[in-house]
Symmetry: C2
């Protein structure tokens, strides 16, 4: 199960009803924060999600509308009593930027780790959860993220019995450990679909995005501009139109698309949704405070 809570949907500058980019994900007991524009801590409070379980922060890049809320977040996590390490992932340069921003926060009671990523890796975040990255096309180094929650194959008690494994050892097999000569794959069914969330902002559109986000349960994708005639401007500035985001979603066969990171110049936010739905029907404008729970297919 993955819970997602969208904290902000604005790009460039916050509007009173359109706070800047930020999104929370909860997997097991762990909270992951993706981007944190100025004001994120206030919308986080509104969401009711606690700060303390946050051990992972993903930064797409270092423009202020994605990162100026970081000092406040680090302070809130500390104020909530966390003493376990917090790891910040981001593109090349994250170490220096974090050092800059931490200068205005007092001493932190937890260890702050920073991992710079190149944009072509897959790493295990925690048990069963993989973080993958793709370098995007923006005006500075920027990363798209994909989070995969694996699902263990179904355990077959009848086969375990047949192979003579005592019931007390079944949990070893379920956890992937052999018992005597019996290996886990002898007592489990075929691989099962897990859950996938892709987080794409800021970037212009390019072909490699489609395989990267393929089959996501949720694609959170920037949609800086509404109308198709802004495509050239989007390309120049390292952004997308609603139609381009929808095209990626359709080609990548994702299940849901949340449009986010709207330009303050988009006067009617719902226009973004209307335009995207012409290409990809399950598109929706991200809504501040919206929470979605993704479950495994037959749960």
């Amino acid at each position: 199960m993955i819970d997602i809570c969208l904290l902000g949907i604005g790009g460039m500058m916050p509007l009173p009803d359109r706070p800047l980019s930020a999104c929370l994900l909860r997997i097991g007991g762990e909270t992951i924060l993706f981007d944190c524009g100025e004001g994120t801590q206030v919308n986080w409070r509104f969401s009711g999600w606690p700060f303390r379980p946050t051990g992972t922060i993903l930064l797409s890049h270092f423009h202020a509308d994605h990162i100026a809320g970081l000092p406040g977040i680090l302070f809130q996590i500390s104020h909530a009593g966390r003493i376990e390490p917090v790891t910040i992932y981001g593109p090349s340069g994250t170490q220096e930027i974090v050092r800059h921003l931490v200068a205005i926060v007092g001493p932190l009671p937890y260890e702050l780790r920073v991992t710079e990523l190149a944009g072509d890796e897959s790493i295990e975040l925690f048990d069963g959860v993989t973080l993958s990255t793709l370098a995007t096309r923006h005006r500075m180094p920027c990363l798209a993220y994909r989070i995969d929650l694996a699902r263990a194959p179904r355990f077959d008690p009848a086969r375990a019995k047949l192979l003579g494994v005592p019931m007390s050892d079944w949990k070893l097999l379920q956890a992937g450990t052999a018992v005597g000569e019996v290996t886990p794959n002898q007592v489990t069914g075929p691989p099962r679909r897990g859950l996938r969330v892709s987080l794409v902002t800021d970037t212009s559109t390019f072909p490699a995005l489609v395989p990267f986000v393929a089959n996501s349960d949720l694609l959170l994708c920037e949609s800086m501009y509404a109308e198709d005639d802004a495509e050239e401007r989007a390309q120049q500035r390292g952004h997308m139109t609603a139609g381009q985001a929808a095209r990626i979603a359709a080609d990548a066969n994702v299940r849901r698309l949340w449009l986010t990171h709207l330009s303050p110049a988009v006067a009617d936010p719902l226009s973004v949704e209307r335009i995207a739905r012409e290409t990809f029907a399950p598109a929706s404008l991200g809504s501040v405070g919206e929470t979605l729970t993704l479950r495994f297919d037959d749960e």
Copy 2:
């Protein structure tokens, strides 16, 4: 005339209805910003005051609740089309902190100047407006500010006539320039009271604050804690109680006191006002978005 607009009244962390420290002042065509906690740009937008005329930013100190909004503000000023220089004043270390925070803002179309102050100076900000500073007692270098708008003495046309100054030269005398052997003080009345605004946060109470803010038209003063029994804690942490702020206001004979920078632990903000009024009747809790216009005495 001085207009003042309070943008935030919270200390430490923002609450949904209590944004962090920030205050705008408008004198002539110039806008001055005092402190800018995270979220300042949104409340600034709500106020309706334009960003472009902002050429002066005063920073009390570098704790995140006073400064994390700076990148957003610098961006907004730029987005509003300002090309004239912007000067940031602050205590020792301002240069480095501003450099850190500017790292996440794109290139600015105006020159950003930084002036570090020791806390014992008076400088002319612009014509007729003096900025004075006092080093406060906080957990890091911190400044209180006083802004004085001078008022020219009254011009006496009858005496100018008597001394034979032609009417076409009166404006020279009014501007302080001698005309022939006639000096301005021969044709003007006694000195007249100007306007004074004092900005005090963060600090524990200490005697030198009283003469520094003496006779202010408005004292904006921190009041981190409500109850008197928090005085020891306030002292330790470099803050004040409502009673201590009111004591300064009374001893300094100020006209109005706005209480600000409340701890998030103050559950009933109006308790701060109630307690302060026991000592100083014209005390009031600062109210977000509140605007006050100070005028010369008989205007």
